[in-house]
Amino acid sequence: MAKNPDTQKTVTQRLLQPLVIPLLAILTSLIIGALVIIFTAENPLVGLQKVATGYWGIIDGALFRRNGITNTLVATTPLILTGLAVAIPFQAGLFNIGAEGQFIIGAFVGTMTGIYLDLPPVIHAIIVMIAGFTGGALWGFIPGFLRARLGAHEVINTIMLNFVGILLVNFAVRGPFKDPNTTSIQTLPIQESAEMLRIAGRLHLGFFVAIIVAAIMYYFLFRTTWGFSLRTTGQNPDAAEYAGIRPKNEYIKSMVIAGGLAGLAGVLEVQGLTRVLTEGFASGYGFDAIAVSLLALNNPLAIIPAAFVFGILRIGGDFLQIRAGLSIHIVSILQALILLFVSATAIVRYLYRLKLDTNNEGAALSRGWGG
C-alpha cells in the first residue's frame, strides 16, 4: 500500500494531520446545526438553551448514562459493516447507495434460516450469518452486474433496489411470513441456537465480528493482490485494464462484498437484538453508512471510530429529542453536514484558512452516466 512519502515530517504531524479535516468537519457541523436549532426555535434564547441541553444530551446519553456506552457500541456495530459496504465499492470507483436494501435483504434471508433450519447452537448462528451475507451479496450483485455488463449507473440502480428490497420484505413480513401469534407486523423469532451471544447489556458478539471484519477488509484492500486490483480499478480503470486487471470483474467483486457486508450487518441485528424481522427494519443504517465511509476517507480501519461517532449521534439523538424537545431530524441534519464537510474538504480549508497538503484523493465517481 501507499506509504507516506514525506519522511521529513514528525511522527505527531503524520498522525494528527489526517484528523484535522474530520474533526473540523464535525465541529463546523455542530455549529451550523446549532444555528438551525436557534433559527427554527420560538425565540433565539430558547433556541440557545435547546442547543446546550440537546448537545449535552447527545454526549451524556450516548456515553455517560447507564448502558449509554454499550448502547452506542450496539449502534456502532451495523454502522461499521454498512460503512465498509460503502467504502469497498468507493475504493473500486463505485458509489453504493444501496446498503439499506442489501441490509434488509440480508436480514431477511438470514432470518429465514434462523427460523426454519434446525442446527446445533454455534453452527446455526454461523450458518445464519453466512445466509445473511449471501442475501445481501445477491442484492449487491445486481447493480454491480448491471454496471459491469450494461453500463447502467449504480447510483440509480442501488437506490431503486433499496425501494424494491424494502417493499419485498414488507410484503413478506405482512404476508406469508407474518407471525400468526401476534398482532404486530413481524416474523416468527429465530431459534435460540441462531442467536448471538450477549456480552454486556444489549451489546452482543456481533460488535467484535464487525471489528474483525474491518481488520480483514483493511488487510484485503492494502495487503493483498485482490485489493490491489480493486483499488487500481478505482483509481484509474484504463490503467487497470492495461495492467491486465478486468475492471468489470472488480466492479462486481466490490459490490458483492459490499452487499454481503451490509447483509451481515442486517442479520446480526436480528441475531443479536431483535430476534424478529419487522417492517421498517433497516432504519437508515445503510444511508448513515455513506457519511461514515467518507468521514473515514474510505479506510476500513478508520471506519471503526467513524462509526462510533455516528453511533453516538444515533443513541444520543434520542436524548436530544427527549431533553431538549427537538426533533430527531436534527441528527439527520448534523449527519448531512458532516458528510458535506468531510467530502468538500475545500470548504473546510477555506473556512479555516488551512494550508494542508491534501493527499485525499478518493476515486472520482462523477465520470458521467456512460459507464
Partner: protein, 510 residues
Amino acid sequence: MTPVLEARGLTKRFPGVVANDSVNLTLHKGKILALLGENGAGKTTLMNMLYGLYHPTEGEILINGKPVRMDSPNDAIAAGIGMVHQHFMLVPVMTVTENIMLGVEETRGFLSRLPLLGRLDRKKVADEIRALSQKYNLALNPDDTIKDLSVGIQQRAEIIKALYRKADILILDEPTAVLTPQEADELFEIMHNLTAQGVSIIFITHKLKEVLAVADNIAVLRGGKMVGTADPKTSTEESLAALMVGREVLLRVKKDEAHPGDVVLDVADLVVEDDRGQTAVDHLNLQVRAGEIVGIAGIQGNGQRELVEGITGLRAIKNGRVTLGGANITHMLPRQVTELGVAHIPEDREKHGLVKNYPIADNIVLNQYYLPPFANGPVLNQPVIDQKATELVAEYDVRTPSIYTHAGSLSGGNKQKVIVAREFSRPTKLLIANQPTRGVDVGSIEFIHNQIVAQRDAGTAVLVVSAELDEVLGLADRVAVMFDGRIVKILPASEATRERVGLLMAGSDQ
C-alpha cells in the same frame, strides 16, 4: 513601422516556477513570426498571456503601439487576436456553424430583444462562413458536424473561427503536430494567403524544417527566456537546434545495423473497430522479426491505436489472427498477452500507463504485482516491491525524491521513464512503443531512444508507433506506412525518405 503586436518584459510566475522570464516579442504586420522552443520552454504560457488566459506577473503587451490589458479571451478577441490551440477548441457534437458562432451568436425573430433567447440565425452565419472560406481559399462546409471532419478540416474551422471574430493577429499553436507533410504544406499555403491579405501570424512549433520553410522571423524560447532571434535565410537546422536546447544535440539516433531473426509478431488479416464501431484496422498484415525495429508512420487516427490495442488484447478483434512466436494470441486477455512477453508503452501515459495517486513503487509493478516474488499467493510482498522500485529508479535515472512519491507529481519525462523501467525490466519477446517520447524533454528522449535500440540489440522484436515522422525514421529498420487502417507500404530504412513516406501517409500510391 509600428509592430502590430509587441510584448515587453513579460514575466509569469507560478508558485515555485518562473514560466516566462522577461520575454520580449515583436510581430510585424503581414509577417509570420515563428516561436521556437522545446516542450516546457514556456511557449504555451506566453501564448496564454497574449490570449488573456493568464495575467502576466510583470510586463506589458502592446497592440499597434498601444498598451492593452487582457484579463480574458474576450479582451484578446476585441484586440483582434485569434488563437488556434494545439488541441482544437471545437465542440465535436456541434456543427461548424455552431462552433464558429458560439459566443458571438446572431439571432433573429421577435425574441431577439431578449438577451440570449432570440432564435439563432444559423443561415446568416453559414453564409458568412462561406464568404470567408472563399476569400481566404479555405474549403469548408459550414453544415458539417465537427466530429465527422478530418483534423486538417477541423483546423480550417478553427482558423475561420478566429477570422469570423475579425482577428488580424493569429496565433497557431503547434498547428502541424497532427497533419501529414502534405497537409502541412497546404497549411503553409493558407498562412501565406492570410499574410498576403494583411493578417499577421505567430507560428509556434518545435519543428525546425517548418520554421525554415515559412517564417519571416524566428524567436527562440528556452527555459522561459527568450534566448535569441534568428533570420531564416541565414539559419540552419543545426544552428536553430543548438539555440533551442542550449547544446549541440544529436538529431539522429545512434544505432548499428540490425540483425533480424525469426518472425516474432505476425499479424494476419486483422480487423479491429474503433470506439464508435467503425472499422479502424482493415484487414491489416504485418510482421516484426526478433532484433529489428519496425516503425509505423502515419497520421494519428489511421488505426494505429486500434492496431496496438488489438495486438495487446485491450480491444476486441473482429477478424484475423495475431501470433506471437508461433502462439496464437488473437483473443487473449491483456494479462495473458503480457505474460507471454509483450511489453507495451501506451500512447497515453496519463490514461493507461500510470496510476497517478499510486507511489512509484506500486506503478513499477502495475502489471506484475500478482506474480512472485512481488506476491506470495494473494499476499503482496511490499519489501520486495520497494526494493525492485529502488533499483529501477536508479537504473533508469528517474528523478524523484523517493519511490513513495506519487507518480502523478513527476514531470512528463520522469513519468515516461517509470513506464519504460517497468516495461523494459522484464523478459520480453515483443516491445510495442506507442508515442514513446511524446511530451518528453530532449534529454529523456535520447535516453529512451537508446533504451529502445538496446532492446533491439538484445534480440527483442520492436514495434514503434509515433506521430513524429522523424522519430520513426530515426529509429526504424523498416518503416511501415499506415493509412486508413491498412499498411500501404513497407520500406527499408534506406529507402524511407521524408518525401516518400509523407506521400504514402497521405494515401497517395506511387
